[in-house]
């Protein structure tokens, strides 16, 4: 019914590799998304940088115009003073000069990132300084020597043709403007490129994200569908197993009920035959009816043992701490009450505490001790030693007898159901006792083994996991039933 072990293992490793692959795929996708996001951030940063440069270039141009304007204002103010001698023109000049100075300073800051612009700026500053000095001298002459001397000085400095310094300053500012315009054009182009790149990277990122999202969604949906499918299969399997168990239960019920009724009739009517017609039967006839009686009795015992054995697998374990010493003593006394005939020696050492189902452990000890009492040579006195010791995570218990023992060559038959190493005539029994011992101990997570030599007694061992060992794992109840 259930999946085979190999299939389960294969299924587990298949789902394991699928999970691994899924993890790797998602980690890869995540790395790509992060890298792309960084790229987009970087290009966006660059685009922002470029646009800052563009704005700066625009400001340079603006300031340049301001510088020229301030210079013109300073010159015209001084000209006015020379002509009129009115001090009001000097205030205008001072304003123009301070405005000029602040603009020149601003210009230096704005062009700090370009070596060639800085060189031009230094030349511009020197020329402007020269021009200012000239204007100062002009003002001084007008103040000390009068308007005519000033005009004379002016004429000597500025011949009738256009003044060379003004032209040179103009040429310089023109150069700077030109350079700045070139840089502006270049930066604008850079800005456009960076923006385009940022937009493209963003687009790729978005597309990739959508793609990954869809793939993830599909993968998850497939996983869910698979899980649902497996659940359906599991539910169906569970139902099948339950049906099989019900069938098995019905079967054992039938065995218990229907097989016993005919046996009762056989035994009953054989007995009636003896009672009613005994006088007409000779000894052989009575012996044969005795055979019928003996065999029905034996069959009844077989049926009961088989049912006991089958029930052992079905009943859930009700575990608790068990005083194994007291239990062994109890079981022995009960057995002696049931079979008081003959002498027997019972040597019970203190046993480690057990952990398990008390009723089932009682069955284990009852079977082992009754075997020890039963398998004694004709006329011998049974001597039974029960001992136990802790052994790592488990406790080992031993029932040793001085009985007929068995040949280890047949060891593999020892714990089988209805397997017997002795004839029914020698030692009566159905061969279910040790099978029960093995099933109970195995269900408790322990082991059973034995050592023996013919005519030298046997030692039967069983182990039970400690309550503390945590390795206590009972086999599921449903795995019981008939072999």
């Amino acid at each position: 019914m259930a999946m085979t072990k190999a299939a389960r293992v294969a299924g587990a490793s298949r789902s394991g590799s699928l999970q691994r692959r899924l993890t790797v795929a998602f980690a890869g996708a995540l790395a790509v998304v992060i890298a792309l996001a960084l790229a987009v951030f970087h290009t966006a940063e660059r685009a922002l940088d470029s646009s800052r440069h563009v704005a700066q270039a625009h400001e340079v141009l603006q300031v340049m115009v301001g510088v020229e304007g301030a210079l013109l204002m300073a010159q015209s103010a001084v000209r006015g003073f020379v002509i009129t001698g009115d001090a009001i023109y000097l205030r205008d000049r001072d304003n123009a000069v301070s405005s000029l100075e602040s603009r020149v300073q601003r210009l230096r800051d704005l062009t700090a990132d370009s070596e060639s612009q800085q060189r031009r700026w230094r030349m511009l500053r020197d020329r402007l300084d020269g021009r200012m000095e000239l204007l100062d001298r002009l003002v001084l002459i007008r103040q000390t020597k009068g308007a005519d001397a000033a005009r004379e000085f002016l004429r000597s400095v500025y011949p009738p043709r256009p003044p060379a310094t003004t032209g040179r300053i103009h040429a310089l500012t023109g150069d700077m403007v030109e350079e700045e315009e070139r840089r502006l054009a270049q930066r604008t182009q850079e800005e456009e490129r960076a923006s385009a790149l940022a937009v493209a990277a963003g687009l790729v990122l978005a597309v990739l994200f959508v793609l990954l999202f869809s793939l993830g969604y599909l993968a998850i949906r497939r996983q869910i569908a698979e899980a649902v499918r497996l659940n359906v299969i599991l539910a169906r399997r569970t139902e099948e197993v339950e049906a099989a168990n019900r069938e098995l239960e019905g079967f054992s019920y039938s065995v218990s009920h229907d097989l016993r009724a005919p046996l009762r009739a056989i035994d009953g009517f054989a007995r009636i035959l003896v009672e009613d017609y005994g006088g007409r039967l000779d000894d052989e006839g009575k012996r044969r009816l005795g055979v019928i009686h003996e065999n029905t009795r034996r069959m009844g015992q077989l049926i009961d043992d088989l049912l006991d054995f089958s029930r052992l697998g079905k009943r859930p374990l009700a575990c608790s701490a068990v005083d194994m010493t007291a239990l062994a003593g109890d079981v022995y006394r009960e057995l002696r009450v049931a079979h008081p005939e003959g002498e027997a020696v019972f040597d019970l050492a203190p046993l480690p505490q057990g952990w398990g189902d008390p009723a089932m452990l009682r069955q284990v000890l009852a079977n082992l001790l009754s075997n020890a009492l039963k398998y004694v040579p004709q006329g011998g006195t049974p001597r039974i030693e029960v001992s136990g010791r802790p052994n790592g995570a488990e406790n080992v218990y031993c029932v040793k007898d001085n009985g007929v023992g068995f040949d280890m060559a047949y060891y593999d038959k020892l714990f089988g159901v209805f397997q017997r190493l002795h004839s029914e005539k020698e030692f009566p029994g159905t061969g279910v006792g040790l099978a029960i011992v093995q099933r109970v101990v195995t269900r408790h997570g322990g082991r059973v083994w034995a050592e023996s030599k013919p005519d030298e007694g046997s030692s039967f061992y069983f182990s039970l996991p400690n309550a503390a060992s945590g390795s206590f794992a009972a086999a599921p109840a449903a795995t019981g039933g008939l072999k």
């Binding site: 218990s256 009920h257 229907d258 009724a261 046996l263 009762r264 009739a265 009953g268 009517f269």
Partner: protein
């Protein structure tokens, strides 16, 4: 309701019936053994209906020996209907069956059986069991008054 001194045996297996009769005989139990073969007939007898419509229902058996596995209506259902009816609510019922399934034992007592006896395969033991039953339910046991 009068005690008839009868015993009602609900049993479908004719050989079991024969063996039971013989066991009663051997144990000198002289009470009349009324035999019905299935659950329906058992209810008809107890409630004087169907094939037993003419019977005086006041003439109740002393004890009912009830098999569980029966044709038509099974033993547990017979027990349930008996306990649900005022006329047979307190009538002693001994479940006498081949099974010793824990489930059957528990269900029988849950439904109000007074006793649960497993029929032994061995005839000697069977005779012994019937003897004990007869002694207990027909001699020792005091039935509740007014039923």
């Amino acid at each position: 309701m009068n005690r008839s001194g009868n015993i009602l045996l609900v049993e479908d297996n004719p050989y079991d019936v024969e063996l039971t009769l013989r066991a009663f005989e051997q144990n000198k139990i002289l009470n009349k053994l009324q035999v019905v073969r299935d659950g329906q007939e058992a209810l008809d007898y107890l409630f004087a209906s169907g094939a037993h419509a003419g019977r005086d229902p006041k003439n109740a058996p002393e004890v009912v020996l009830l098999d569980l596995k029966l044709p038509k209506i099974d033993g547990l259902e017979v027990l349930r209907r008996m306990r649900a009816d005022e006329r047979t609510r307190r009538l002693p019922v001994v479940v006498l069956t081949s099974s010793n399934e824990e489930k059957d034992i528990v269900s029988s007592y849950d439904l109000g059986a007074n006793s649960f006896v497993r029929k032994p395969v061995d005839f000697t033991q069977f005779v012994h069991a019937v003897n004990q039953l007869g002694l207990y339910w027909l001699v020792l046991n005091e039935t509740p008054p007014g039923t």
